[in-house]
């Protein structure tokens, strides 16, 4: 047991804190609106120029070759300083780990530097009208073009920031005879390719951050395939591990939210009834418990382990703690919770947590079947 960070990690924290406190922007519009997205991209470019955009990546791609510990520290400091949600997250946290694992050197050179610099902005093209939790029901298809490359046809939906992004990664069925998990292939697609139509639509929280992406006989080159034809499920599952686990929602985000909740209660002592104080303490305890769980998980990863299905534990825990935390803030606000303010927005956004990245119902199945060994049927 050693729960202290090293001197060099503390130095890394001090550097990150100093830069973030001086540079984190205030008052950006939501990154899930057209105007706010442009503001967030400017912020991402500032992060990139100071080499804070992708700290865990190799230096040649704009990172600092930071360890997992340092990445956790950066995340803590980022949210502690009030940094805004990362509009680049689906690229840098979901696609990038997959490109590092499965991409050719040429693909890595083509994709990663532009992603880090926020020149290319990536959205995730997984959900379809008929394939939500049941990702293996993917019916968008790709067939080989006689002149080379592939022809893609189909529809993706609920694509976060799809109307603002420049690129999309997603699964397509390359073997028309295949079913379920077989015969799928992982593609990376520029959204300005001919035959693609993107239609934005409003989300529950009022932002226009969703999109439908229609693909009609869209030609992409062979280099658009990541990780081999027919290997899409295996490649995609490596991304879901990242999405459910650490990288999408690090503990720093919830620790910062819990601290903000405590400040809110302190600013409204009359509203902070004993029952609400109990809920606030619970929210803080849960955020801290998530941090501690993560520390033990990262200890195991650093020693060569893989979180595997354990990432489903993270996902259920952080998404449900977020709802409890944000809901408690609304209780403190009382009638003001009706107004379109930051906490109410956060509460509505939190409701998406148990849905995206695989619904929590699916996660609980995974936990029961893969971690406890209960029978599938």
């Amino acid at each position: 047991m050693d729960l202290e960070y090293t001197e060099s990690e503390k130095e890394f924290r001090a550097q990150a804190r100093e830069w973030l406190v001086a540079n984190v922007p205030r008052g950006l519009k939501s990154g899930d609106t057209a105007e706010g997205f442009a503001q967030h991209v400017e912020w991402e470019k500032l992060l990139y120029d100071a080499r804070w955009a992708v700290v865990s990546w190799p230096e040649r791609y704009g990172g600092r070759a930071a360890s997992l510990w340092e990445w956790l520290i950066f995340e803590e400091e980022y949210y502690r300083a009030g940094g805004p949600p990362r509009v680049t997250q689906n690229g840098i946290f979901l696609l990038a780990p997959t490109v590092f694992d499965f991409g050719t050197p040429e693909q890595q050179d083509a994709v990663l530097p532009r992603m880090a610099a926020a020149d290319d902005l990536w959205c995730q093209g997984w959900s379809e009208p008929g394939a939500g939790s049941d990702l293996a029901a993917t019916s968008s298809r790709a067939k080989p073009d006689p002149t080379g490359g592939w022809r893609l046809t189909g529809q993706k939906t609920w694509t976060t920031r799809g109307a603002f992004c420049t690129h999309m990664f997603g699964l397509f069925r390359t073997d028309p005879e295949s079913e379920r998990h077989h015969g799928l292939t992982y593609f990376m697609i520029p959204l300005d390719t001919q035959g693609i139509t993107v239609r934005g639509f409003d989300r529950l929280d009022g932002d226009e951050g969703f999109a439908e992406v229609f693909l009609e006989d869209v030609h992409v080159p062979d280099e658009a395939v990541l990780g081999g034809v027919g290997e899409g499920w295996r490649v995609a599952m490596s991304t879901t591990g990242s999405e459910r686990g650490l990288t999408l929602r690090s503990p720093g985000r919830f620790m910062s939210a819990a601290e903000n909740l405590i400040s809110l209660a302190q600013s409204r002592p009359d509203a902070a009834t004993p029952i609400l104080r109990d809920k606030i303490a619970s929210a803080w305890i849960d955020a801290e418990a998530y941090r501690l769980f993560t520390l033990s998980q990262v200890t195991s990863i650093v020693a060569g382990g893989s979180p595997g299905a354990q990432s489903s534990l993270n996902k259920v825990f952080w998404s449900e703690l977020d709802i409890r935390l944000q809901g408690t803030a609304l209780d403190l606000l009382g009638q003001e919770a009706e107004l379109d303010g930051a906490w109410t927005r956060s509460f509505m956004f939190a409701l998406a947590g148990p849905i995206y990245a695989g619904t929590n119902e699916i996660q609980r199945n995974i936990i029961a079947e893969r971690l406890l060994g209960l029978p599938r049927k």
Binding site: W69, D278, W284, L292, F293, F317, N365, I367, L372, P375
Partner: protein, 337 residues
């Protein structure tokens, strides 16, 4: 940063686990229901051979000189088998107190395995294991640094009366009415508070161990039990209950180990960290016990089946050393709420 047991800690834990798995069987726990003193004595003799009474006593005073990070995993093992013995009270609370307060007679007896200790350090009249403990430690509120006093068995027997716990192994004594004076231990308020914190942490560790056993038993049962022609564990409703149980345990465990670290380091946050650990451990154990009963169905509602031995230990013990709500209030105060 390294948040895991080291090799020595793992080896010690496995040694204790092997011993307890072999010795502290459900049959032994059942036996302790009939005769709590005999059950505790049998197990204590085994644990004494491993040196456990002196685990938290400095080596210079004849102990093993282990820290909370070494001992907490062992207490979790004791919880796992529902060891019917005041292990936390004797080895983790009293032994280092006797060493600190210079009670050499008591310390020597304890190290030889001849002394079991009961505790009621929060002013409660109820003393678990008080019916057969050789010494009882009482305080009106050790968590606030109030003095700790020691009663011998004759005094407790004269002043107290046996009451029925839902878990007979706990042999609860009630000291309602005029409490005897006893001997005041020569301790600072900080030492009294530290003793309280060790009790809270030890209790949290045992509860995590109990929760793990309840979950393991239930998992095994639902894989085996068939209804509608299939194992009931194939039903999503059961899967989701057990997923929730696993989440509760897995997020309490690290908090308990972190509290051990905070105690060993003398961290300024140790009181908050210990309170948080107990809040999570009590809540997890209570939740898992409820899920275990529900997922077993009617067989859980019998005493012929072993599950109740573990579930009742949870219900009897999870509010001792501060309930989840009590501990959350302590965290809230530490957070400035």
């Amino acid at each position: 940063m390294y948040f895991a047991l080291n090799d020595d800690q793992t080896a010690l834990r496995e040694g204790v686990r092997d011993l307890l798995t072999g010795e502290c069987t459900p049959e032994l726990v059942r036996g302790a229901w009939a005769d709590p003193a005999a059950g505790a004595a049998a197990l204590w003799a085994q644990l004494t051979e491993m040196g456990l009474p002196g685990a938290a006593v400095p080596e210079a005073q004849g102990g093993l000189g282990l820290g909370a990070c070494d001992i907490v995993p062992l207490l979790e093992e004791a919880g796992r088998v529902a060891a019917p013995i005041p292990l936390v009270e004797t080895a983790f609370v009293a032994a280092p107190l006797f060493a600190a307060a210079g009670l050499e007679t008591e310390l020597d007896l304890l190290l030889e395995g001849k002394l079991l200790v009961a505790c009621a350090l929060d002013g409660s009249p109820l003393v678990p294991y008080g019916q057969f403990a050789d010494r009882t430690l009482i305080s009106s509120d050790a968590s606030a640094g109030r003095s700790i006093r020691m009663l011998d068995a004759v005094t407790t027997a004269a002043a107290g009366s046996a009451v029925d716990s839902i878990d007979a192994t706990r042999a609860v004594l009630s000291l309602a009415g005029d409490r005897p004076e006893g001997v005041r231990l020569d301790l600072s308020p900080a030492q009294a508070t530290a003793a309280w914190q060790r009790g809270v942490l030890g209790s949290a560790a045992e509860l995590v161990g109990l929760a793990r056993t309840l979950l393991a038993q239930t998992t095994a049962y639902v894989k085996d039990r068939r209804q509608f022609g299939v194992p009931v564990g194939s039903f999503q409703a059961i899967k989701h209950h057990l997923a929730d149980a696993l989440i509760a345990v897995e997020f309490a465990g690290p908090a308990v180990m972190r509290a051990a670290w905070s105690l060993d380091q003398g961290s300024s946050n140790r009181d908050r960290d210990v309170a948080m650990a107990k809040a999570l451990a009590s809540a997890a154990a209570e939740r898992v016990a409820a899920i275990a009963v529900q997922c077993h169905g009617a067989i859980a509602y019998t005493t012929e089946y072993d599950l109740h031995l573990y579930a009742k230990r949870v219900w009897a013990g999870s509010r001792c050393w501060g309930s989840a709500e009590w501990q959350r209030r302590r965290v809230a105060v530490a957070l400035g709420l």
